[in-house]
Symmetry: C2
Subunit: 454 residues, 2 copies
């Protein structure tokens, strides 16, 4: 029996556990599912004979070390900032480790030691980051090995509601951490490069600078720039690429409407509102509009944001009931972002049975034998309306698959790493295809950054 | 002979020195003018027999302590963050101290010790903060002493170019630290209260939420909200006031045009631009606009900011030559704000002989004997076109006057303080009037926050 310690029994851990349990007999695996909340761990272990649920507070070093010492491999599904506590013990006790999170500077600093000990710390192996890395590198490596030269790489991912449950005016529901959605894009200008020109978009313009995308069978989407696309030049070995742009996908029209919140200041998470617990939704909105003894909040809002009376944007606001003068959040010392999140959760919470959807879109422009070409690669994954959400599948499956392959010695290169080597991404992508997570490729003429020609 | 040590021989120290030297014989004063740059100190001492210029690096404790020990009073005209070094020595050697800067938490923490030793540390006694405190408290105290109840206090200050030299489309030139002008309003939402309602304006809306003001003989101005007006409730003893709003004055139209820079992201000071030293002005602007192989920077800018072809806003941009494709800033690793400042300094630097202007506008709404009333109080100070700028006069004179009064024992209350007590502001305001810095009051009917009535 080999022991896999899974720390953190959150939403995306379910699919991960199920996959590993389905292989547990043939693979002789025993799972130890550890969480600070024992019930969460028990819910996932389901009384399976190859799973044990334990209560673990990772800030109690003795407990933590004990469990890590007994494991053959450790999967950390904790919030990203907590991985390092686990990682240091994994180094000390010579254990391999898997996470779905970005490599932090602290994690990176362990690389030398991890290599010296011949260990594998595989990170960024969820969906974004994760499936995006693997599916992009597969095509980049192919183009390069054919002698092609990459000119353009654009990559977009979105967590959305599935078409059949897409029934509000925003074409959006929360399918993951709502807080991250409300504060998305904050903390600095978005940076990318287009046709060799560096471009910068400040946060308050981000939602007005979208691109349009279409996925066959799923219709049109829009994409807005992520914070820092530039770092992917080094990560993907695209140092001289002319266009590199990464972004987030939404349904068309979402960003223009979301921009109303940004413009008013409702997404600010840096200060608290006076008397927030007693504010109605209407009071909240009004605190960002000029004072008037007589003018309605509605008219002030229309005027401030220049919304015509027959604009669909207005109906989007009304749908959220944000002008309600009775409903209160009751949140004490809340930031504007916390108030907005509360209001949105009224309307955008996925109901039981409703399905989510993950969409991914890559564009690769390249030159081969003097000819310019373009490959578009898209992936759509739908949730099942239950615990097997698209998000849980696309995060949990690659983590589970990678963990098993490390355990079985199929990956050999040691170090703190991400899945950008063919020896890693090829077998994982192949297995993901068996679970319905597959990319469709199409070749088009090279369009460059601009679709519109003069 | 009494010795006044003046540390920091910058722009606003000239008037301060001149005033003290003009009184030096009758008052038996010897000035020690200290600066890290000896020439700056010598330039101000002018070989006057009652002035000595010395070189002083305040980060060399021995030097610093030696000079402070020998002084009878210390005036610190250093950048605000350096006062504390001086202040600690003043406590140690029992010296009174004067600064024109906001009281920092470190300075505030000395209050108990300063009081115990019977010392006076007078701060915030320049123009803003300074003259604003004194002129406002004079009227607030008068209204209160008559039994009136303050309903509204609004206060605005602006550093502008004098009407006779106001000859560009922006009606603006730099008359003080340009960096502070470029980054003004950043670092959080503006907060104030209007008719009992808390109001918040995010930075990217700040320049679109101005108020109009008029000063007789000087025409119309606009005002935009300062970061935090709310703290003045406690400072001025206006805990229950319904409207409290402090702001910055500009000529009408400045803010709407400045907003173009804010919207593009040109005022951001939090990151550096790739290759900034090789960017032309045009490249700089273009890096905030969408890529196009063919469209001009001009058309992209018009479209992005929705500027009609005959809009005066466009002429304001052209006046700054920001589309020039040859001029470069040459600044390495510059932030957008640093690049913008460089470009603006081309156009907005006060030329020799040109005059600056300080304007101040207070509004006081109050209820007295069941009647609502309003007092407006305004002040305009013009520079002389030389070193006696309006800024140097309105900062330097109150500092100098306060220093002399402390030296002569006319102020008796000890502690770390600001000039909000009648015993302090009355005599200083009277002397300022002799130097032409005077407020004009007018009574109007109470208008409340809204001038427009339905």
């Amino acid at each position: 029996m080999r022991h896999i310690l899974i720390i953190g029994a959150g939403k995306s851990t379910g699919v991960l556990v199920d996959h590993l349990l389905s292989k547990s007999k043939e693979q002789h695996i025993q799972l130890i599912i550890a969480d600070i909340n024992l019930q969460s761990a028990q819910f996932l272990s389901k009384g399976h004979e190859n799973a044990t649920a334990v209560k673990l507070d990772i800030f109690e070093p003795e407990q933590r070390k004990l469990h890590i010492q007994k494991a053959d491999l450790v999967i950390s599904m904790l919030p990203a900032r907590f991985h390092i506590e686990v990682a240091r013990d994994c180094v000390a006790f010579n254990k391999n480790m898997v996470t779905a999170s970005y490599v932090s500077p602290e994690m990176e600093s362990l690389d030398q030691e991890v290599k010296e000990k011949g260990l594998i710390f595989m990170n960024e192996i969820g969906v974004d980051p994760g499936v995006d890395h693997m599916s992009a590198m597969k095509i980049i490596d192919r183009i390069t090995s054919q002698g092609g030269n990459l000119l353009l790489f654009e990559s977009f991912t979105g967590g959305l509601v599935a078409p059949e449950d897409d029934n509000n005016l925003w074409n959006y529901k929360f399918t993951w951490n709502p807080r991250n959605v409300v504060t998305a894009g904050q903390g600095g200008a978005a940076k990318f490069i287009q046709e060799g020109k560096y471009k910068y978009i400040p946060y308050h313009r981000l939602f007005r600078r979208t691109e349009l995308l279409e996925i066959e069978g799923y219709g049109r989407f829009e994409a807005l720039a992520n914070r820092n696309s530039l770092k992917y030049r080094e990560i993907y070995g695209l140092d001289d690429i002319l266009t590199l742009y990464r972004g987030t996908m939404r349904r068309v029209g979402f960003s223009k409407a979301w921009n109303m919140f940004v413009q008013l200041g409702l997404t600010d998470d840096t200060y608290t509102l006076e008397g927030s617990e007693n504010m109605t939704y209407r009071d909240f909105i009004n605190s960002f509009l000029p004072y008037s003894p007589t003018d309605s909040v509605e008219l002030k809002m229309r005027h401030e944001l220049k919304i015509d009376q027959d604009d669909i944007m207005w109906l989007k606001l009304e749908e959220l009931d944000i002008f309600n003068n009775k409903k209160k959040t009751g949140l004490k010392d809340a930031t504007p972002a916390q108030m907005l999140q509360f209001i949105l959760e009224d309307s955008w919470t996925l109901q039981p049975g409703e399905k989510d959807m993950i969409v991914m879109y890559h564009k690769f422009g390249y030159e081969l034998n003097g000819e310019k070409k373009q490959i578009d690669s898209t992936m759509v994954c739908l949730g099942d309306g239950g615990l097997q959400t698209a998000m849980a599948k696309t995060v949990g499956l690659p983590v589970a698959i990678a963990a098993l392959k490390i355990l079985n010695g199929e990956f050999t290169e040691p170090g703190v790493q991400i899945p950008i080597k063919a020896s890693v991404y090829q077998p994982i992508l192949t297995e993901l295809e068996n679970h319905g997570i597959r990319f469709r490729e199409s070749e088009t003429e090279y369009l460059g950054y601009n679709k519109l020609q003069v």
